[in-house]
């Protein structure tokens, strides 16, 4: 019953801890490794206006949930203009208005995006396209062209690909030659492809976007074709018929319309500028969760002031150190001075580095022991003796720092970072064990403590581990679950297999003396 209860708690803790961590990793995009940077793009749209005297209004299409990308933030620079953003169908747009514009003006829209999905998200089927009304003989020509394409294709995607290739062929099929001027623009060819697809009742639409290039200037939008395969919109290059968007293509708006519509202006030109930047992955994930309006992020450690954050970076490692102690003491059976003293020593090793830490620590404890044994001869009372040891320890630390600095060894300076009360207590405990149980016992426990501290240090100093527990503090629940589980471990400790090894022969030796034998 108690066992079942425990298993339930352990399972619950692990599931909660792991699933929250997984959600943060998978959905919110928190990185599991440190120092990972994500590539983000800053895209800036510049709208140059030549205004007249009439009240002006500018309608500009804004990107809205583009495939593959997520918008992290956006901003408008438009001094003196009234600005509203509104949606029109699935599209989003900004409307700037001004009653008395003067001279040339420039409006800016800036957004930061980053690529977060490889798959295009499914979208509902808009229904079969309405075939355009065509007159004979164009109608039969188009129908026989469609028939030809259908013969050579397997599904909607290959159909569209073949069709686009035909439309772009240098010597087009005679059946569609009538639809095309030889000098037709890309947009016109795309528009034709959409009309022809509509004859086959395949829904298709035009998309426009920006090719993201680092330090790109004066970029013009590129037109793309999308056909709906009844599950999702499949992008098709209207020039080559290749399926899919290029990797760095940011879809800005959909539909056969200009991105910019103006009223009351003499002229307006639109251009895009893009630049690439690397941003800390944690920061990106934080922004994204804020956009996704995730409650989790409100309770994240990342929201704390930076120096508090740094405290927790260290503090969150203590549970892991504690788990290691539990493992080494209860499963391996290493004996240490004090229960959690090795974790505290390990924490101070973080500042001094391992080798220097072990050497300095051993040095101070050894010297402190000599002093302690001398103080023993003076027959002091316990508390004054402890105080005397603390004083001597601090003095020794100062001496070590000064001497090592003189010798040009800067690691010696970090000796001041050892918690000196821990040092004094260690010295006191070592000396008591030394006196009561002999030097062998004291050495065994001292070496045990050092091994545990070094192991705990090696785990805790690992940048991946520190990052993992700071960004995913819910993993502490998993640590707690493991600790609870180990709390019910009643099997043998590894060292007991050595302690009780006499039983390999012993069990047959101790027989009660038989009657008459003695």
């Amino acid at each position: 019953m108690r066992r079942l209860h425990l298993l339930f708690v352990v399972l619950l803790l692990s599931v909660v801890g792991l699933s929250v961590a997984w959600y943060k990793y998978d959905v919110l995009g928190f990185p599991i490794t440190p120092d990972r940077e994500t590539e983000t793009w800053t895209v800036e749209a510049q709208i140059h206006l030549e205004t007249g005297s009439a009240p002006a209004s500018v309608r500009f299409a804004l990107p809205s949930d583009p495939p593959h990308y997520t918008l992290l933030d956006e901003g408008f620079v438009s001094r003196g203009w009234g600005l509203t953003t509104q949606s029109r169908g699935e599209e989003r747009e900004a409307v700037w208005t001004k009653r008395t514009p003067e001279g040339n003006q420039t409006l800016y829209y800036q957004t930061t995006v980053y690529r977060d999905q490889e798959e295009v998200q499914p979208s509902p089927y808009p229904g079969p396209a309405d075939p355009p009304e065509l007159e004979e003989p164009l109608k039969s020509a188009a129908e026989s062209f469609i028939e030809d394409i259908r013969e050579g294709s397997a599904d909607i995607e290959t159909f569209a690909t073949l069709l686009v290739k035909e439309v772009n062929a240098s010597r087009p099929n005679e059946n569609i030659a009538a639809f095309l001027r030889p000098d037709a623009t890309e947009t016109e060819r795309t528009r034709l492809a959409i009309r022809l697809l509509a004859i086959a009742r395949i829904p298709a639409r035009m998309s426009h976007g920006v090719m993201l290039t680092d330090e790109g200037r004066n970029l013009a939008p590129t037109t793309w074709l999308e056909v709906h395969n009844s599950r999702r919109w499949v992008p098709i290059d209207p020039r080559s018929g290749k399926v899919g968007f290029p990797r760095d293509f940011l879809v800005w708006w959909h539909g056969d319309m200009p991105p910019l519509e103006t009223a009351g202006l003499q002229d307006a030109t639109l251009s895009f500028a893009t630049s690439r930047s690397l941003r800390d992955a944690v920061e990106t994930a934080q922004l994204q969760s804020a956009i996704a309006d995730s409650r989790l992020i409100d309770f994240s450690l990342l929201g704390l002031p930076v120096d508090t954050q740094n405290t927790y970076r260290v503090l969150l490692l203590v549970p892991l150190g504690a788990l290691i102690i539990v493992l080494l003491r209860n499963v391996i059976g290493i004996r240490t001075f004090g229960t959690f003293m090795p974790v505290l020593i390990a924490l101070s090793f973080r500042e001094t580095q391992l080798t220097a830490g072990v050497i300095l620590f051993t040095l101070i404890v050894a010297m402190g022991l000599l002093i302690r044994f001398y103080l023993e001869r003076l027959k002091l009372l316990l508390v004054p003796r402890l105080a005397a040891v603390v004083i001597v320890v601090i003095f020794l630390m100062a001496v070590i720092s000064v001497v090592s600095h003189r010798l040009g060894l800067d690691t010696g300076l970090s000796v001041g970072l050892f918690p000196m009360v821990i040092l004094a207590m260690t010295i006191e405990r070592v000396s008591i064990v030394w006196e009561e149980h002999g030097p062998a016992d004291a050495l065994v426990q001292a070496v045990g403590s050092m091994i545990v501290a070094a192991l705990a240090y090696l785990v805790m100093v690992n940048a991946h581990v520190a990052h993992l527990f700071f960004v995913f503090p819910e993993l502490l629940l998993v640590i707690l679950a493991l600790t609870l589980l180990l709390g019910r471990y009643t099997g043998y400790r590894l060292t007991e297999l050595f302690r009780f090894r006499a039983f390999r022969t012993l069990a047959h030796v101790n027989r009660p003396p038989r009657d008459g034998e003695r």
Binding site: N330, G333, K379, L381, L382, V383, I432, E436, H437, G438, D441, G487, R488, Y489, T490, G491, Y492, R493, E496, L497, F498, R499, F500, R501, A502, F503, R504, T505, L506, A507, H508, V509, N510, R511, P512, P513, R518
Partner: protein, 326 residues
């Protein structure tokens, strides 16, 4: 010498050896309610408890509770040339000072068990260290007890070196389950602690004979200092000793208890100390695991419909828990 390989956990389990984790997790945590711990951890309390129940303990001469009482030392010592000073909450035999004689009267100088002299200043310092908590668990302030020094019976004289041999009995749910005699050696400096090098000799539960011994987890048949065979020494009044141990289980309310008894030349068995966390070396001394015996007690108690008296329990243990052939 062949490499001394570790034993396999499977074999240990077969032999019924109890490990630290099982002892702590199942016997101590399961059988010993925390609220009863002070009864055994505080030797003063357990001494009072045992006296009330009519069990024999070394007589208490005085209790030093605060530093200013140390001044009364000469008055306390007046009638006693031999005595033992121990902390009431000491752990593992730490902080015990044995005085076995008086070297001079004015000023009073005593002789320690090691033969070295100790004047009142030194004894006073030891007392104040005890009061400050130098030997107590967690360094809490403590109380010092001054009590009768046991005149140990010559029974184990041939197989011990200085010090006081004692008999440790493990009592499980009121039933004595296993016992050993702890014999000091020159290596253990006259102390009866196994991890300091004392010999643990198993005891046949039925008759109270010593069996072979173990030192440093190794099987031995003869005492390293006296070269006498360890096995075959009969403990007198074995039944009475087991009854005393069984009654300690009753008075403390602990289900897993170690009872340390010394044999006094004149007074017979005296309870020296009770232990809520008795060690596991007793298994090595007896060459047998505790678990089979403990399980036998569990089955026996399940079968009973009443609580047996201490004498009945000692009888049952003697009949049923003698070393078994495995």
């Amino acid at each position: 010498m062949a490499i001394n390989w570790p034993i396999s956990p499977r074999r240990l389990r077969e032999l019924g050896i109890v490990g630290m984790n099982q002892r702590n997790g199942e016997y101590i945590a399961g059988m010993n309610p925390r609220r009863y711990y002070p009864l055994v951890d505080d030797k003063l309390l357990s001494k009072e408890l045992a006296t009330e129940s009519g069990l024999n303990v070394p007589a208490l001469y005085a209790v030093i509770r605060s530093p200013h009482e140390i001044r009364n030392l000469p008055k306390i010592m007046a009638g006693h040339d031999e005595f033992v000073i121990k902390p009431a909450n000491g752990a593992g035999g730490d902080g015990i000072l044995v005085i076995d004689g008086r070297q001079s009267d004015a000023p009073p100088v005593f002789r320690k068990a090691s033969g070295k002299p100790a004047d009142l200043d030194e004894i006073g310092l030891h007392l104040s260290n005890i009061l400050a908590g130098a030997y107590s668990l967690g360094g809490r302030p403590d109380v010092a007890m001054i009590e009768y020094r046991v005149q140990f019976s010559p029974l184990f004289e041939k197989i011990s070196f200085q010090g006081v041999p004692d008999i440790r009995t493990i009592v499980y749910r009121g039933y004595p389950v296993m016992a050993m005699v702890r014999l000091p050696t020159s290596h253990s400096d006259g102390k009866a602690n196994l991890h300091q090098g004392a010999i643990g000799a198993g005891v046949d539960m039925a008759k109270g004979y010593t069996l072979d011994g173990v030192a440093h987890n190794r099987h031995i048949t003869h005492h390293p200092d006296t070269h006498e065979p360890i096995s075959g020494v009969e403990i007198p009044g074995w039944q009475y000793l087991l009854e005393m141990a069984a009654r300690c289980g009753d008075i403390t309310g602990l289900g897993y208890l170690g009872v340390d008894v010394v044999l006094d030349r004149d007074l017979g068995p005296l309870i020296l100390e009770l232990n809520a966390r008795p060690g596991l070396s007793i298994q090595v001394a007896n060459g047998e695991g505790l678990r089979h015996r403990v399980e036998r007690v569990d089955r026996h108690i399940d079968y009973l419909d009443r609580r047996e008296t201490a004498a009945e329990r000692a009888d049952w243990s003697r009949e049923n828990l003698a070393p078994m052939n495995l």
